[in-house]
């Protein structure tokens, strides 16, 4: 088949059957150099524009190019698209695109029985089979009998498709991810136009690459059209989401946009001091693109300097932010304590990954919760908030900023790798209706003709922010304990007791300024499933499923981890059972038990992967029916 004979405009044969389905889970899997993240992202974007609800789970190795053909080198991208409101990227895939034997081997366990396998058949040759640990080809030995297997000569067809485009050498086969994308787009009736536009703008400076990718995309699509095997296709209608305007967004992008929005809402220039670290770097990349918003991104020499520069910028009157992941948060700890002592506003974003140490840099974990709360020397309280999904990241970022500015305190905002890299539709907010979170710099002396830095607002206990350049308000801040009002160094014992208590009460008092915890409660429910962070989707989806069987359950999700919402204790006391699913060894459970003396149960997974809905569902059933 050649691109010349079958184009996108070829009339659709009469025997094409289109089946309406409500959702599908597709996993693109290949070598980390095969471009599976791109194929998945493009399919997601096309589905988003089409109006489906969706949720994605990229999964890739930390190595940029792990040895080709091996299982450690496999990279995958799972997307669930649906015509209804979904909350997760799904558990088991319906369709697996396997670009080589290793990709098949690593991902087959997550394919549902009877699922579809689209195999790049030329890659299933002796050397690749051996690298993946297959003695015989699974395409031939009958081991895939429980699945619907489609063997596609993707490499030959890609070569043929690109032969007149001018690409040569290694670039010829680079386009095969677009072939796979084209074929999947055919099977699920996705239009190609948006991806073609994207390719043409992305590769505008390399027209031969653009031409090759478009040719491969079309060739994949046309292969489906002309091959009888694919004459049964599927359609997923647009989802009935609440009316409004949507875009598809990852958590890191939403966080970056949230910071820009917060900067506007606070009328302060944004300063982002950071050091590259997976999986937080994309926040830096996104912000660095938007200097026309007055954003200063500062790539420091290390994590300590990233937060140090941010503290300097806060003193100087900017909206100061630092972003990192676990190992970097450890390095920033001492400087965050300084900001607590100097009572300067600072937003610290921790995009959590699996630890300890380097751990699994590209995999999810929620294991920095206790570190965020307690990972500092001395009595050093600060507010901790957590995004619950990619689409929540925008709003919670603005909220973290509001608290930092209003209470003159560092705030830790927790995200994680699943939120950071996963995407879902986000209903766009009215940018003209953002909350006003601005604070006024002091311009006049506040005590007998002079400025005393630690005079507090009695309501918030926040001190007043006076910035360099303001005549008459010259002052010194430092890490030494200071007098409760005047701010001069003080070694007085009772003053230290008072200052420690003031710092503590300032943070506790924020509980009066945040929303109460909302509970999604069924009449008769005895079990409360309490979550925080990225378990939101899995918990909500699991509750939906058990409710279909008439089983009562309650769920609640914490976005504020310190201080807790004021009604949390009362909520906990209403339930006989409390289940806390976490992607850690039980950190929130420990807090809940310590603070409220309730017998909270843990449900814990630390595999570098988010919960599957079925895992939470089964656990809920086990408790509710026991």
């Amino acid at each position: 088949m050649s691109d010349d004979t079958a184009t996108i405009d070829t009339p659709v044969p009469a025997d094409i059957e289109i089946e309406e389905i409500d959702k599908v889970i597709i996993r693109f899997a290949g070598d980390s150099g095969d471009g599976m993240q791109l194929a998945g992202t493009r399919f997601t974007a096309d589905s988003a524009i089409f109006g489906n609800d969706l949720s994605t789970l990229p999964n890739f190795p930390a190595e940029i190019r792990a040895p080709a053909g091996t299982i450690p080198g496999v990279s995958s991208f799972q997307v669930q698209i649906a015509d209804y409101d979904i909350l997760t990227p799904g558990d088991e895939a319906d369709v697996l695109v396997a670009m080589n034997p290793a990709a098949l081997k690593a991902n087959l366990i997550d394919l549902r029985p009877g699922g579809m396998i689209i195999a790049n058949e030329e890659a299933f040759e002796e050397r690749n089979l051996a690298k993946a640990g297959f003695e015989t080809s699974p395409l031939d030995d009958g081991s895939l009998a429980g699945y619907r297997v489609f063997r596609v000569p993707m490499e030959r067809l890609t070569k043929e498709a690109v032969k007149d485009t001018g690409v040569t050498g290694r670039n010829v086969l680079r386009s095969k991810n677009f072939f796979a994308l084209g074929l999947i787009s055919w099977v699920f009736n996705r239009p190609l136009e948006a991806s073609i536009d994207w390719v043409e703008s992305k590769f505008g400076k390399r027209p031969e690459l653009a031409a090759a990718n478009v040719a491969s995309l079309r060739a994949g699509h046309n292969f489906g059209l002309t091959t009888e095997a694919f004459h049964h296709t599927y359609n997923i209608k647009p989802a009935k989401l609440p009316p409004g305007e949507y875009t598809n967004v990852t958590g890191n992008t939403a966080t970056a946009w949230g910071l820009i929005a917060a900067s506007q809402a606070a009328r302060l220039p944004l300063f982002y001091g950071t050091y590259p670290i997976t999986p937080a770097s994309d926040i830096l990349h996104e912000l660095a693109k938007h200097k026309n918003f007055g954003v200063r991104t500062y790539q420091a020499e290390d994590e300590i300097a990233g937060v140090g520069a941010a503290v300097g910028a806060a003193f100087a009157g900017h909206l100061a932010v630092t972003g990192t992941s676990g190992p970097g948060l450890a390095l920033k700890s001492e400087t965050i304590s300084l900001a607590i002592s100097m009572e300067l506003p600072l937003v610290v974003i921790d995009v959590q990954r699996a630890g300890p140490s380097t751990g699994l840099p590209t995999k999810v974990e929620q294991s920095d919760l206790l570190f965020s709360l307690y990972g500092r020397h001395g009595e050093a309280p600060l507010p901790v908030l957590a995004a619950r999904s990619a689409s929540d990241a925008f709003e919670i970022t603005i909220e973290a900023t509001r608290i930092a500015l209003k209470y003159m305190t560092p705030v830790i905002l927790l995200s994680d790798n699943y939120i950071a890299n996963g995407s879902e539709p986000w209903q766009l907010p009215d940018t003209d209706a953002l909350p006003d979170i601005g604070v006024k710099f002091l311009t006049e002396p506040n005590a007998d003709g002079r400025y005393v830095p630690y005079l507090r607002d009695p309501a918030t206990l926040a001190r007043q922010w006076a910035i360099p350049g303001t005549p008459g308000l010259e002052h010194r801040l430092g890490g030494l304990e200071k007098h409760e009002v005047v701010g001069n160094v003080s070694y007085d014992p009772s003053n230290h007791q008072l200052m420690t208590e003031l710092r503590e009460w300032k943070i506790r008092n924020i509980a009066n300024d945040i929303p109460e915890l909302e509970v999604d409660h069924d009449v008769g429910a005895e079990l409360l499933v309490l979550g925080w962070g990225s378990t939101y989707g899995a918990i909500r989806a699991a509750a939906k499923r058990v409710r279909r069987d008439g089983l009562p359950v309650a769920t609640a999700h914490l976005r504020y981890l310190n201080p807790f919402p004021i009604n949390l204790g009362a909520v906990l006391n209403e339930y006989r059972y409390i289940l806390v699913p976490e992607v850690n060894m039980g950190q929130l459970r420990k807090l809940i038990r310590a603070e409220f003396l309730v017998p909270a149960m843990g449900f814990n997974k630390v595999q570098g992967l988010p919960f599957r809905v079925s895992e939470v569902e089964n656990k809920i059933r086990e408790i509710v029916t026991s």
Partner: protein, 339 residues
């Protein structure tokens, strides 16, 4: 930052109500007096000045300067000051640090602050000892030095701070001595006028834990013999009668009797030379204040400053794309409407 003189200050305007708590006789007192006097004479509005320090004896400095100031954490002053300088190019930002603070725990921040060439003026008080922690050897202590933490002699080879700064792409590098207030003020002035990071090593006597460390440069009998004054455009000649001179041989600086070489062969100091090799060679004449030691401005060259480059990027981005529009930004990756 504006250089317009707007105020008539005296030294008292820069003193705070805080009791100065260095040990009596500490070299820090003379440096503080020199800086306060210099600032008063400079006439820059004091609200535009920020002093940032780390931890150590020298780092108490900001508490005694009636300007904006931060007494931060050990080693991090250059990092924190960098944030101030990038955020606020209108301010005059000074870093006060010591040999332990800047060269040990904070070594990384120091070299990066130097290479970036921000509007930071870094004063490194080098007393070759840890004073605040009561007398351990520091990264500038001589090898073999006996201290509480090195009773058998320090096994560490010391840094030469001027060589280090030159190697870190610093655009302004100088050395002065606490006892020489006039020279200190001259160097402060030159550092202030320099656009970008200025690095000043101040030899500072710790009379409690390392007294007379600089006696060869400050003592009546020896100072004329040992002090090599560097002046831009002048041949490098020193000694009570100018009897010694510095020549460059195969890239290395060497001290020779002045009358043993032709006048034209004596090194003429060029602080503005784009290539730092001659300045580096001068810095290698002494490794600590033992014997003939160059004092003055080693290097003072022009290079664009970090914060101005950053500011220009913001201006360029606004010119090219217009002022940021949040509503457009959140629709920039494609949006769709659900009716």
């Amino acid at each position: 930052m504006t250089d317009t003189i707007t105020t008539n200050y005296t030294r008292a305007d820069f003193q705070t109500d805080q009791e100065v708590r260095w040990c009596p006789g500490c070299g820090d007192y003379t440096i503080l007096a020199a800086v306060q006097t210099f600032m008063a004479d400079l006439g820059l509005p004091k609200e535009q000045m920020v002093f940032v320090s780390g931890i150590g004896c020298s780092s108490r400095f900001p508490y005694y300067m009636n300007t904006y100031g931060l007494h931060s954490i050990h080693g991090r002053a250059p990092a924190i000051a960098s944030g101030i300088a990038v955020a606020r190019p209108d301010l005059s930002v000074w870093v006060v640090t010591g040999d332990g603070d800047a060269l040990s725990i904070g070594g990384n921040h120091l070299i990066h602050a130097l290479r970036r060439n921000m509007n930071l003026k870094i004063l490194l008080f080098n007393n070759q000892i840890y004073g605040l922690t009561k007398g351990q050897y520091s990264p500038t202590s001589e090898k073999g030095k006996r201290t509480k933490s090195s009773p058998a002699g320090s096994p560490d080879a010391p840094f030469n701070p001027v060589s280090l700064a030159l190697g870190a792409e610093a655009t302004f590098v100088a050395r002065t001595i606490d006892m020489d207030r006039k020279h200190t003020v001259e160097v402060l002035q030159a550092a202030h006028e320099h656009k970008g990071t200025s690095f000043i090593e101040v030899y500072q006597n710790c009379n409690v834990f390392n007294d007379k460390a600089f006696i060869e440069l400050t003592g009546k009998e020896t100072r004329l013999e040992n002090r090599i004054n560097l002046e831009h455009g002048q041949p490098v000649i020193f000694g009570p009668e100018g009897e010694n001179a510095v020549v460059l041989e195969d890239g290395a600086a060497r001290i020779v009797p002045t009358d043993s070489v032709a006048a034209g062969d004596i090194l003429v100091h060029d602080a503005h030379a784009p290539d730092p090799s001659a300045a580096f060679a001068l810095s290698r004449l002494s490794h600590g204040p033992y014997g003939p030691t160059p004092i003055g401005v080693f290097r003072d060259v022009a290079r664009s400053t970090y914060e101005q480059d950053v500011k220009q990027q913001l201006v360029d981005a606004q010119e090219q794309k217009g002022a940021g529009d949040l509503s457009k930004l959140i629709r920039s990756m494609g949006a769709w409407t659900v009716e």
